[in-house]
């Protein structure tokens, strides 16, 4: 095996290894992104990590000791209750569009992250 062939083989190996890492990474990091209505129509995603986009329903925010622990989001047709005790982004408020990421626990979405949306971009609240 000449030096250049060994080089090509070595490089191919590196690329392949990183491709494997990328593939496994994307499978574990991919999150479905739906509205509550779409989510209600997808029983196959009942146990998947999902990201729901909706408006925080007026009067739905429940607080304890000044901290928010639950609220409801909706898209006009369907609403879903969200349980969350982590940090909230600065622009979180009733009536505002938010993204909620988490997994269904019974009928309540146990959220791991809450983000607010802006017209052209979104920014995440810190991971817990």
């Amino acid at each position: 095996m000449t030096a250049s062939r060994r080089l090509v083989a070595g490089l191919a190996l590196i690329v392949l290894a990183i491709a494997v890492v990328a593939y496994s990474g994307i499978r574990s990091a991919a999150v479905y992104y739906l509205t509550p209505t779409e989510f209600a129509g997808r029983p196959d995603l009942r146990h998947a990590q999902v990201r729901l986009a909706g408006r925080v329903e007026l009067g739905s925010v429940r607080r304890r000791d000044g901290r928010i622990e639950a609220f409801t989001i909706g898209d006009g047709a369907t609403t879903i209750e969200v349980r969350y005790d982590g940090p909230l982004p600065d622009l979180f408020a009733e009536g505002r569009e938010v993204l909620v990421e988490g997994r269904l626990d019974g009928t309540v979405l146990a959220a791991s992250r809450v983000m607010t949306t802006h017209p052209t971009e979104y920014r995440e609240a810190p991971p817990r």
Binding site: S4, L7, I14, I18, V21, I26
Partner: protein, 657 residues
Amino acid sequence: MSTLGSFALLAALVVAAYGLVAGLAGLRRRDDALLESSRRALVAWAAFAALASAALLAALLTRDFSIRYVAETSSRDLPLLYTVTAFWGGHAGSLLLWALVLGLYGVAAATRLRPSADAPLVFLVLLVTAAFFTLTLVLGSNPFASERIPPPDGRGLNPLLRNPWMAVHPPALYLGFVGTTVPFALVVASLVRGPGSRWLEATRAWMRPVWCFLTLGLLFGAKWSYVVLGWGGYWAWDPVENAALMPWLTSTAFLHSAQVHGYDGSLGGWTRALVLLTFLLAILGTFLTRSGVLSSVHAFAHSTVGVYFLAFLTVASLASCALLLRSRREARPAADSALLSREVAFLVNNVLFVVAVAAVLFGTLFPLLAEAVTGDRINVGPPYFNQVMVPIVLLLLLLMAVGPLLSWRRTDPLVLSRRLALPAAAGVLSALAAAAAGLRRPLPLLLVALGVLAAATTVGEFVRGAGLRRNRGQAWPGALLQLVGRGRTRYGGYLVHLGVLIMLAGIAASSAFTTRVQVTVAPGERFRLGRYEVRYDGVRAVGGPGLLITEARLTAADGRTRVALRPRHLLHTVSDQITAEVAIRSSWRDDLYVVLIGLAADRRATFRALLTPGMAWLWTGALVALAGGVLAATPARRRVPARQAMPGAAVVPEGGG
């Protein structure tokens, strides 16, 4: 103003079209007068782009809300700095900024590019790009479109953009993004003309400052994210951030592979491909952030600008591929290099950079592909990017450590091991020390060992070079200064390496050892944050133009020092939005970072507080890297060739190494 602006844009379009026709005809007929006319058309186009920009700026400053763009991005209460910022605070304005910056580069190219057979082609490529952006501005996203019912006070700039870092971030990034056009044009010209083009030196000389601007853009963006967004981080693998990172990665790869091509002429096609890719990724970045495609494929359908960009991107990519394929017989592999040689190290480095770009691109575009194929909207989060980038960074660190010690063509393993002994010992000892201090996980330990190893070999290069000069009787400081001054690209490059290493130390420390708390406290109550005890003293209201500010007062004490922290809540009265102003106390050891996130009627306040080590290292490292880049980009003074100046003196190879 809207008439003047629209006129300037139309005139720019006409001039660019004329320049294209004149240039093509001049090339065909070998008519120098026509070619000169095409060059002047490029300058005239730049003048009209500047005129349109001046018109928009004037409209913003005079609060001319009859122009929709002005109405939507500014308001009467906006301070001067942010009134100027509003120029690039919206869609159409940022496209006009693109054109303005392209005009600057166009004038620079038209005046500084030496007359050569390549030059008219370079101007043609710049004119095509100019024509495209002007067309997009006129038809797709016109900043001078009028507002039917002008709002009396304007709708105001997005509060998140009202920050000095955001004011400087887009111009810096665009100087980088747009700057890639000139290297692209140089390479396209060389590919069209075939053998005989002296493109490499010119392309490197243009790419170095562009690299600095891209770095600056990334730095400002990270700083904005850290200071303004209040989540305590600086990088979220957000698609918008990835868009800026990808051309930075390919331009960095180019600056490395160009050294191999300059040394023995190999990797010619690859090196050129990296330049073409850098430009295409800069356009892709603009497309991704400007088309609405990132939120959803469906949103893209509503954006006309996106379609223009996609068309331009497709044509530019196809043309690039065709040109590269046509010239592939020029590509020569490094035939007789041993595996243990500097060029192989550069090649592996290049492959890693390109793999990194592919991985970032894949993660960024995967949601779009998935939605197009399955209809499911999917999001790819930071875990993917972290998982992919960690092995790449570790391998790059290894190369950074070993690469400078390798000779071209062939390195004697014995010589290498002798050169590597001291740095390797330093690396192992540091890892052992870190383990003794309580660091147990293997990946961070490996990072410490490789990082110190790389730092030691890099510092060793400075010591070795200066040592040679010292042997000739110079003192250390003078020897070091002269060494760096004479070999700017080489030692500038090593300075970049040192900066990157300092940054990596900061990134590793901040991502591994951050302490966070979120607490709700009444005035007078205390909470713990790492070694600090923080007392909440109370709140007070502060007025401001168009703002209601609530300021919380806290005192943090760690036994020796007391620190006052003043996080604030800003209610923007025009847009009825609330933003937070973070209180940050930075030191070499760590950053105290406090955000006021909620305030109850009984003055109980909720705070998010973080103690993050290494943040100062991160910013310092970035600045050191930037200084290295600027040093490498500074052209050396024209000197009398060494041989003539000192007959018989040994010529020490300098620069380019």
